[in-house]
């Protein structure tokens, strides 16, 4: 941590020195100090970890302060950018391997500016909201530590100017996601969900890492810098097929992190985590990192074969429709929102899949979606907090008991359904316009169908939760101020952020976030009317079917056998379980268990046996040879002494006899 502080401080100093040469438009103070934005949450995470338990309020104050400060800085960055500050890049040398120079650095352009605002604002709201939601939790301080750490990691991804730094932040996010999904790890379901999320995203991360290697290779192993890499690829020095393969591998990371088909299975299970986590990580920010990755390296996708972007769009379309249909049949309110998230993320990916024209529209949807989906999740959290159940079959009639939650959730739902004038309307409208302009009719159809389904399940969710009669057992009550406050603020944002992309108001968002020339947003009354019409159609159907609460879901009878397929999520999870998890778990793990038991333990036991045998031998030698020699000598001496002692008879005359005998013998010898 100290090193990091030092590095970043040095970076700041150097950034100041380089500022002049970098930007003709003279990037101002906020952009130059954008490195503070990820650093502050990291610092607050460390503070919470080390001092949290000793601080009044168990340390939540550090996270709120750190992320709040980051939010202010992010707003500064966005404002400076909106005033024409221009892009800014500041780097310091990290280390070199041969010709490859690795840097630490920040890249602040319109995309970054918009993303940091999204991440810090939602994170700030979630930090405040968790005060109420997580009150009295066993690991309250730890929760705040990881929440701050996650926010910092996401911001590292967003501001980094090279792929290596991006990868570091990306992986820290993965770990934090794992920790937070498994926050209540006492329940096996939760820890299994955490493991599932971690391993599933990892399957996408591996090709992504190789994609990064491919990009570095494309620059001739000279740099990891994103801008330079994209320039190298755009200049056409690398073959198109190579770039295409690299782009597809990078898209693997997106499929994993943004939960696109076929790696979408982890996200609904990730709802096992606390609801604020679901709002922050699994709806608004981390899952958007996959989309951001494509956007950040968009030149690579554009330079590659057009078929790459088509594949991207196809994957998105499958996810969009498949997930939306699944959201219809869910009883768990968080799972409705989870499948909705999958579907909406696919909207963004599909937007990017339409090429440069869809870039701004895709990111505008990311921008608006972050606000209204965070709002919806936090509302769901407030409801769950009140009724102590995730299931809509336990809810109903909460309209009067929780008025603030009800109204904010209605705003969020209208935004999700795409109703004028809320955020979702503007971003979906822009996507529809782009789809029409680029003549991708199939995407246009998919967008409209998904929009209708979205409106339908959103209506179903609101009706089942807030209308009819209360079905649960707990005593519902309005959430505390720390929870309703963020709800109201997010509802206000949801109502307003859509106008940032409104063509009638100049569509300022398109001036911030664009590829090449700023995107000209155009308002096409036909498309707006079509979008509104399908949304209202969906709402109408939902209203008719769920206006009166019934014991069995009316869809269950109408869908027939399809209901079972949907309840089982198209059996994809079961397929993975049978095809991947069980073989690995049963075969590989039993093989490793066998190896462990027989080979490794055999080695250990064998070594022990050898040691025992040799020590027995040594003991035998010690006892018998060495001790035997010593004892034998003593015994010989003792025995011989015992025998010889009888010569010492005490009878002097015998001595004299011996003396004379000796004399005679000597005399005989001498005389001879």
């Amino acid at each position: 941590m100290v090193d990091l502080l030092g590095i970043l401080a040095a970076e700041g100093a150097e950034a100041g020195a380089e500022g002049a040469e970098h930007a003709a438009a003279a990037a101002n103070w906020f952009a130059q100090h954008a490195w503070l934005i990820p650093l502050l949450p990291f610092a607050s995470g460390a503070m919470t970890l080390f001092f949290g338990k000793r601080t009044p309020g168990e340390g939540a104050v550090y996270g709120i302060a750190g992320v709040g400060a980051s939010f202010v800085l992010s707003l500064g960055v966005l404002l400076s950018f909106a005033q024409g500050g221009g892009a800014y890049e500041g780097t310091i040398e990290w280390f070199s391997i041969g010709p490859l120079h690795l840097e630490l650095g920040i890249l602040v352009d319109g995309l970054t500016a918009a993303m940091v605002v999204v991440v810090t604002s939602v994170s700030f709201m979630v930090h405040v909201y968790s005060l109420g939601y997580m009150r009295g939790d066993v690991r309250f301080t730890w929760f705040y530590t990881v929440l701050s750490l996650f926010t910092g990691a996401m911001l590292v991804v967003v501001v980094s100017n090279n792929v290596l730094q991006l990868l570091v932040g990306w992986e820290i996010m993965g770990v934090c996601s794992y920790l937070l999904i498994g926050h209540w790890f006492e329940e096996p379901v939760n820890s299994n969900a955490a493991i599932k999320a971690f391993l599933t995203t990892r399957i996408g991360d591996v090709p992504m890492t190789f994609g990064f290697f491919a990009l570095i290779a494309a620059t001739g192993f000279a740099t990891t810098n994103i801008v330079e890499t994209q320039e190298a690829i755009a200049s056409g020095e690398v073959t198109t097929s190579f770039v295409a393969v690299a782009a597809l591998m990078l898209f693997g990371g997106t499929i994993g992190k943004s939960a696109q088909f076929p790696l979408h299975v982890w996200l609904p299970d990730a709802m096992a985590g606390p609801t604020p986590v679901s709002a922050l990580i699994h709806a608004a920010t981390m899952v958007a990192a996959g989309v951001y990755l494509v956007g950040r390296l968009f030149e690579v996708f554009v330079a590659a074969d057009p078929v790459v972007l088509t594949i991207v769009a196809i994957v998105a379309t499958i996810t969009m429709l498949g997930a939306a249909v699944l959201a219809i049949v869910q009883d768990d309110i968080k799972r409705v929102l989870a499948y909705s998230t999958l579907s909406q993320l696919a909207y963004m990916v599909a937007g990017l899949g339409m090429g440069e024209e869809g870039f701004t529209a895709g990111f505008f949807h990311l921008f608006t979606h972050a606000f209204f989906k965070a709002l919806l999740f936090l509302c769901a959290g407030a409801v769950i907090h009140a009724v102590h159940s995730n299931y809509m079959s336990d809810m109903g009639g909460l309209r009067t008991k929780m008025p603030i939650t009800f109204w904010t959730m209605v705003i969020g739902s209208l935004a999700l359904a795409g109703i004028f004038p809320f955020a979702g309307f503007w971003s979906k409208d822009e996507l529809l316009v782009v789809a029409r302009d680029t003549n991708t009719t199939w995407l246009l159809v998919a967008f409209l169908v998904t929009a209708a389904i979205t409106a339908f399940y959103t209506t179903r969710m609101v009706l089942l939760t807030f209308f009819g009669t209360y079905q649960g057992h707990a005593e519902p009550h309005e959430a505390p101020l720390s929870m309703t406050g963020p709800l109201v603020l997010l509802a206000a944002s949801t109502s307003l952020v859509g106008f940032l992309g409104a063509p009638q108001l100049g569509a300022v968002f398109g001036q911030w976030v664009h590829i090449g020339q700023p995107h000209e947003a155009v308002f096409q009354p036909v498309m707006a009317a079509a979008g509104l019409a399908v949304a209202l159609f969906g709402i109408g159907v939902g209203w008719v079917m769920y206006r009166e609460r019934r014991v069995t879901d009316p869809l269950e009878t109408r869908l027939g056998p399809a209901w079972g397929v949907l309840q089982n999520r198209y059996y994809i999870d079961d397929l993975y379980m049978a095809a991947v998890v069980r073989p690995i778990r049963d075969q590989v793990s039993s093989a490793t268990y066998w190896t462990n038991q027989n080979v490794l333990d055999g080695l250990v036991n064998g070594a022990a046996l050898v040691a025992r045998a040799s020590s027995r031998l040594i003991i035998w030698i010690d006892r018998n040879l060495i001790d035997g020699t010593a004892n034998g000598l003593a015994q010989i001496t003792g025995t011989s002494g015992g025998l010889l002692k009888y010569l010492q008879s005490g009878n002097v005359q015998w001595y004299a006899v011996a003396l004379f005998t000796g004399v005679i013998v000597l005399a005989a010898l001498f005389i001879r």
Binding site: S649, G650, N651, V657
Partner: protein, 100 residues
């Protein structure tokens, strides 16, 4: 003049008697007296050779032997008296405590 071989034979006989007395007698006084016999056998030898070789040296030595023998008998008899006082016996077989 008596011939030397006769003297030596006599001396040898005398010495043998002394040896026998020292080795075989049980009475401590008799043992002391047997030692005297052996000493005097030596004296006879010395005197015999003195006459044969016309040399007075051995005779002087003989006188020394007689003097020393007198002293020796004094000490010896004193030991016998102490022995008798302690053990009420002067049998040398019974004086065998200095052993293993």
């Amino acid at each position: 003049m008596i011939r030397l071989p006769l003297v030596l034979v006599f001396s040898a006989l005398l010495f043998s008697a002394g040896v026998y007395g020292v080795l075989a007698r049980r009475n401590a006084v008799m043992v002391l007296m047997a030692i005297e016999l052996m000493l005097n056998a030596v004296n006879v030898n010395l005197v015999g050779f003195s006459a044969q070789l016309r040399d007075v040296g051995p005779q002087v030595f003989t006188l020394f032997v007689i003097a020393v023998a007198a002293a020796e008998v004094g000490i010896g008899l004193a030991l016998v008296i102490l022995l008798f006082r302690n053990r009420a016996s002067i049998n040398v077989d019974e004086v065998n405590l200095l052993k293993w």
